[in-house]
């Protein structure tokens, strides 16, 4: 085994950079999750309640996104949109767009499963007491569905946060990018990657714990 001397001063010197990168990664994940939730909700509703002709484009969207590697999607959006003369997105915005579409496809499946798992009697009962369609959604279906899908939310947030690492491929300065940069500039291989790994692990763990508390608070009674 070759001797390796750790020199953490490199990391401390660029600690601000790491923190900014971590913040950026979290922001990207949260924005994408929010946008993905909206997309997913719309698509799931379209698929469950919508007309037939609306259901196959949704299916196509979901299957396309889920079967194509995320990195390919990122490149596709980042390099492909300017080809279509849509060139006002910078790399971060383009990544947010991609990750939102990506999250949207997964959230569609989550919400579809959530909607499917709501007993039909809820809807019937809501109809029976004379609720309007939007009232049924707002007061009966949605609250139940969100509680059922809460664990999937936290899973998705964590996996989206991990997926923000792919933004490094188009030079968005998030954690992986910064670690790679420091690795390349200073040649402190172990320090930079151990720091990045530790930050990812800790953040994922914190998110998971926080959301587990939230889940316990709002968990549906099964």
């Amino acid at each position: 085994m070759i001797q390796y001397y750790f020199d953490w001063s490199v990391i401390w010197r660029s600690w601000d950079k790491f923190m900014a990168a971590l913040g950026l990664g979290l922001t990207l994940a949260v924005i994408s999750l929010a946008a993905g939730t909206v997309i997913g909700l719309a698509c799931a509703m379209a698929r469950v309640y919508g007309p037939r002709w609306l259901s196959w484009p949704v299916w196509l969207y979901v299957e396309f996104i889920r079967n194509v590697p995320l990195l390919l999607l990122i490149f596709f959006v980042y390099f492909g949109l300017p080809e279509l003369d849509i060139s006002y997105l910078d790399k971060t915005q383009s990544f947010i767009l991609t990750l939102s579409l990506y999250a949207g496809a997964y959230m569609t499946e989550v919400f579809r499963a959530g909607l499917a798992s709501i007993p039909r009697q809820y809807m019937e009962a809501a109809k029976a007491i004379g609720m309007r369609p939007w009232q049924r959604q707002r007061y009966v279906i949605m609250p139940v569905m969100f509680r059922i899908t809460l664990p999937a939310f936290s899973n998705n947030l964590i996996s989206l946060f991990k997926d923000t690492s792919l933004a490094a491929a188009i030079a968005v300065p998030e954690l992986t990018f910064v670690a790679r940069q420091i690795n390349a500039n200073t040649f402190r291989v172990m320090e930079s990657w151990l720091t990045a790994s530790a930050l990812y692990l800790i953040t994922c763990y914190v998110i998971a714990t926080a959301l587990r508390l939230l889940e316990r608070r709002y968990a549906s009674i099964r």
Partner: protein, 223 residues
Amino acid sequence: MTLEPGTFLFEAWTARFALMNGLWVTMTSSFFSIVLATLAGLLMGVVLSYAWWPLRLLARAYVDFMRGMPVLVLILFTYYGLAMFRINVPPYWAGVIALAAFATAHVAENLRGAVQSVPAGQMEAAKAIGLNFPKRIWYVIVPQAVRRVLPPWVNTCLEIVKGTTLLSVIGVVELLLASQQVIARNYMVIDFYLMAAMIYIVVNFSIAQLGALLERRFSYIRY
């Protein structure tokens, strides 16, 4: 359709070897990762379910570590980290090792779930009729756990195939990087990315179909 330079068909035909080579690298690296991850994952799954508690704790730490890390970081870490220790691994194998190490955790965790979902009475009954531990596992637990572990295992395989795109970051010319190189030559960005996407979809659908076939083969009722 005319085959003139600048048309998609012409460019695709010109680039056929590059793309096929890329596809080959994608498929072999996925294959090796899947095999490695499955073997290691099965072992670790058994450790997670049955082993002496310090071993189990180690396996759990490994699984949680892997599940909390982005694959890309893992791949970069493996690639640069191994080089640091003068272990000269080509990027291809560094990537395969990293992907396999990542997927091992998923296979193990899924297997643990499957094993624990087999009712305890099964194990007790197997003990009662005097089977020893390997036999209990092999004849009683495995046939039941396999059915439950197959769907998530197929999912992990698909994740691995998609994960091989990340090898392009460390310079393995798999399908994505091959497409990018072709695009760098002819600037047909959308066409070639779409084609790569289609190829991935075909590969993934085939694997999903194979998985469905396996699931039928191992289902309770043989069709």
